[in-house]
Subunit: 129 residues, 2 copies
């Protein structure tokens, strides 16, 4: 347990990940410059492993949710807090996040319901015309 298997640690170039996720290499470098990912180097060239790729997925999901990179950075820190963190402080921050997300969930459900309503009204209009 906790052993790293080097065989399964696939390597990705920056272009690989850019292609896979439909983003620019510039964006990826930008995320690194903001400390959201920290790929290894082979000389000067960036080498990404599964961990970096996983983080990228979280970053993009955060963006779809409308979060700033700053927010996403904080969010990633919660994942990192695996070891050697004050647990109280961690759960506190997690709970903060959850509150925000549940507010967002409520907003989202309201909005979805309203759109369904609009569609329904539109259809009724068609029928009665």
């Amino acid at each position: 347990m906790n052993r790293i298997d080097p065989e399964t640690a696939e390597l990705y170039s920056i272009a690989d990940l850019a292609r896979e996720f439909g983003i620019s290499t510039r964006a990826i470098r930008f995320y690194e410059s903001k400390g959201l990912i920290s790929p290894e180097r082979l000389g000067a060239t960036r080498v990404f492993r599964r961990r970096d790729r996983a983080r990228l997925i979280l970053i993009l999901r955060g963006k779809r949710l409308g979060f700033s990179l700053r927010d996403i950075s904080d969010y990633l820190a919660l994942y990192d807090a695996d070891r050697g963190q004050q647990v109280n402080l961690l759960t506190e921050k997690v709970d903060e996040r959850l509150q925000l997300l549940e507010q967002q969930l409520a907003d989202l459900q309201t909005t979805i319901a309203e759109l369904h309503e609009i569609r329904k009204l539109a259809r009724e209009r068609v029928v009665s015309s």
Copy 2:
């Protein structure tokens, strides 16, 4: 039906709404400049009615969901499309929106679940230490 009752058409100053929603008057003017709201004028002074206030609520909800003002503008248009719009085109746009929102809903639920998981792991660590 469809009659407007002038008695219930309350009036708000820009400062009223700014205070109520905890935003700046600058922001409200900015939203107007982008065509998201269009208050009446008394001389040069903006006069807001319930309709504008309702729109503001939708705007702020859109922002909490991470949408750009451009997106929100399009969204508001769906509400306006009450009368005299191509119904097909309307429902089409509504459905587009709904797709995005449901993607967002899925992202959100995943994220919430992961955070619950993190909290659970943190607590287990406390117990076993």
